[in-house]
């Protein structure tokens, strides 16, 4: 039977509890030799290090520590721990507060001056019901309706803010919206081009189409665009360059 040295807990366990437990347990576990109350019978639990230290350094008897002093020490420890935790918390709080202020400052610097913002917000509120002939419309209300109806989920919910000013007639839009729209428009155009002129469609060139009639005439004629002037462009350019250089050389040798 392995006799395990029971671990003494840090918190002071009340002596009465130990005694209570010890009595009924002792009857059952007497054969095992494992008595819970053994090392701390009648006394508060001693810190383990002191036990060990005592064993290693000298063969002296362990210190006599009263229950009260040990309890007081433990309480001191607790208080110290609580103090440090509180200090840490307050430090963190202060740090966070300073950070927040910094962010607010930066944001303020980024935004337009207050005067213009005020004008925009008041103008948008009054212009929601106005006719479009005078002032450009505000899409906020309609966008809210749209979102409410459960519009599609695939595209990102774009916060489109179109606002106007009563004095100057300008429109503030996000550039990202325009890019999205362009990309989709191009995809749609590509779809139509593919389905009408893409692979699998039976298309021919205009030249061949118009020349079909010429082929069936009693006296067969040439195609509508018989010459293909687009062949051998590189060769023709090289020839032109060579001719120019040759002429220059000829002029030089003549002189």
């Amino acid at each position: 039977m392995v006799q395990l040295r029971p671990r003494a807990s840090r918190a002071p366990v009340s002596a009465e509890a130990m005694v209570d437990e010890g009595q009924p347990a002792s009857e059952e576990e007497a054969e095992h030799g494992l008595l819970l109350g053994q090392p701390s019978s009648g006394a508060a639990a001693e810190p383990l290090e002191e036990d060990e230290e005592g064993d290693e350094e000298s063969d002296e008897a362990p210190e006599e520590l009263t229950f009260a002093s040990a309890q007081a020490e433990a309480r001191e420890e607790e208080r110290r721990v609580r103090e440090t935790v509180r200090r840490d918390k307050t430090l963190l709080k202060e740090k966070r507060k300073r950070r927040e202020e910094l962010f607010i400052e930066q944001k303020k610097r980024k935004l337009l001056p207050d005067t213009i913002l005020e004008k925009l917000t008041t103008a948008s509120q009054t212009n929601i019901k106005k006719s479009p002939g005078k002032v450009k419309e505000v899409n906020l209300q309609k966008k809210n309706e749209d979102c409410g109806k459960g519009n599609d989920s695939k595209k990102v919910k774009v916060q489109k803010v179109q606002s106007v000013s009563q004095n100057k007639s300008y429109l503030a839009v996000r550039l990202k919206d325009q890019d999205l729209r362009d990309a989709r428009q191009q995809a749609a155009q590509a779809f139509i081009h593919n389905s009408l002129y893409g692979p699998g469609t039976n298309r021919t060139t205009v030249n061949k189409f118009l020349s079909l009639a010429n082929k069936r005439l009693p006296v067969k004629r040439a195609a509508v665009q018989f010459l293909n002037n687009a062949w051998g462009i590189q060769k023709k350019q090289n020839a032109k360059r060579f001719k120019r250089r040759w002429m220059v050389r000829k002029m030089k040798t003549k002189k």
Binding site: K149, D152, K154, R184, Q185, G200, V206, K215
Partner: protein
Amino acid sequence: MGEFKVHRVRFFNYVPSAIRCVAYNNQSNRLAVSRTDGTVEIYNLSANYFQEKFFPGHESRATEALCWAEGQRLFSAGLNGEIIEYDLQALNIKYAMDAFGGPIWSMAASPSGSQLLVGCEDGSVKLFQITPDKIQFERNFDRQKSRILSLSWRPSGTHIAAGSIDYISVFDVKSGSTVHKMIVDRQYMGVSKRKCIVWGVAFLSDGTVISVDSAGKVQFWDSATGTLVKSHLIANADVQSIAVANQEDSFVVGTAEGTVFHFQLVPVTSNSGEKQWVRTKPFQHHTHDVRTVAHSPTSLISGGTDTHLVIRPLMEKVEVKNYDAALRKITFPHRRLISCSRKRQLLLFQFAHHLELWRLGSTVATGTVEAMCLLAVSADGNWLAASGTSAGVHVYNVKQLKLHCTVPAYNFPVTAMAVAPNTNNLVIAYSDQQVFEYSIPDKHYTDWSRTVQKHGFHHLWLQRDTPITHISFHPKRPMHILLHDAYMFCIIDKSLPLPNDKTLFYNPFPPTNESDVVQRRTAHAFKISKIYKPLLFMDLLDERTLVAVERPLDDIIAQLPPPIKKKKFGT
């Protein structure tokens, strides 16, 4: 008349843009046509098919759908995701409202005209309420998986058919939920790798849905059960458009090969009550894709990538079989795009986004955008005549900056105006081919004009189908008026007698070899030449020189996108 040297100009590289949508308005008999460069034109079909209003456009506003709503309001929607309303009085855009669904592919106005339905790229169908001054979003219908390419209302307003890729959905308007989803076969009785795009749907009042798709099929579906009733394979290429008549007894479809088919509801046997849809007439008036068709009570209208607007009156619907029942093909613009400066020998060409200034001999290019309006300034700079959308031509005194007089209103729009240099007579040409001369200083029509009106024009003159786009005068001969349209130019000599219906109108031979007697007998005021055509512009440079700007059709066709291949036997 005299002999002239002619500068024949063919380098004006004018390429009209393809027609994308047409919309016919029954009450006012007007046709709205939108092109791929964003321009919208309004044609007045009762005023001899004259283009009376023009909204210049931009590629970013290219339209995919056009429709009329109640009260003569015109709406268009395009791939930039916006619904645009046009102001037909002020000739500008009233407003553009973003639908927040991505690119818009289709739009339909409700039969009552008070609601607008829009089909978007993300598969949502959005309902808008048309308020007196704007449109307002009402609600979304059930969202579908792929883009909604075509929409159609049931005439009773209770259901909607929406065509998408590989399927058609039928919605109930009140609840906004899908009633049926009808799957379209990719190929007629076969399998194909390419997706079947349903380009057009039409909902009839008895619950039949007609769909046209990219496999070349026209299919009839029953919307009550969601099943296919009949399938017609009519082309090897896409069938891209469909339009149903108001009485629902005929409809027209346009294909990518340029063919337009007419379907009619015909009784099975001569006295049975049972009727069936039969393909009756094919028309091949286009060389490229027919992207849009419309059905007016008496004619079929089609337009597409080859830029012609073709109006084909149906013989069984036309009451009087006269020249009005012939085919109308509108190819060339009804406005004048070229101006000429006589002294400096310069020509100004107006393109969509820039102007080109050419010296007859060399070239200098500039770039601005110009708006077009019908104005005429007198040669001495005193008078300015302006015609707008309202009736009557107003003449203003430039020196005193006030209105001088107004020419009485006429029920047809003005196509060309000019003020004669010495006599200050205002010559006006209307879209029904009538020409009036009004004296500005005297504030009444001239005697010659009254004689012409009493006498009437020659019937061949009235039967020309392109409007007169330019009038000019000879500086030394005040009795001559030079005017032209797309296929002829004419010099009117006011001193010669007027032709009546029996005289030979177009003189086939030049009057050099004939004897004097014969000449005097056949001579009449209208000297017409058809040598230069198709004519975009003709003017007098100086006394002995004319400039004629032509635009051969072949040059335009050479710059169009590729058409569908046609297999012909023996090639």
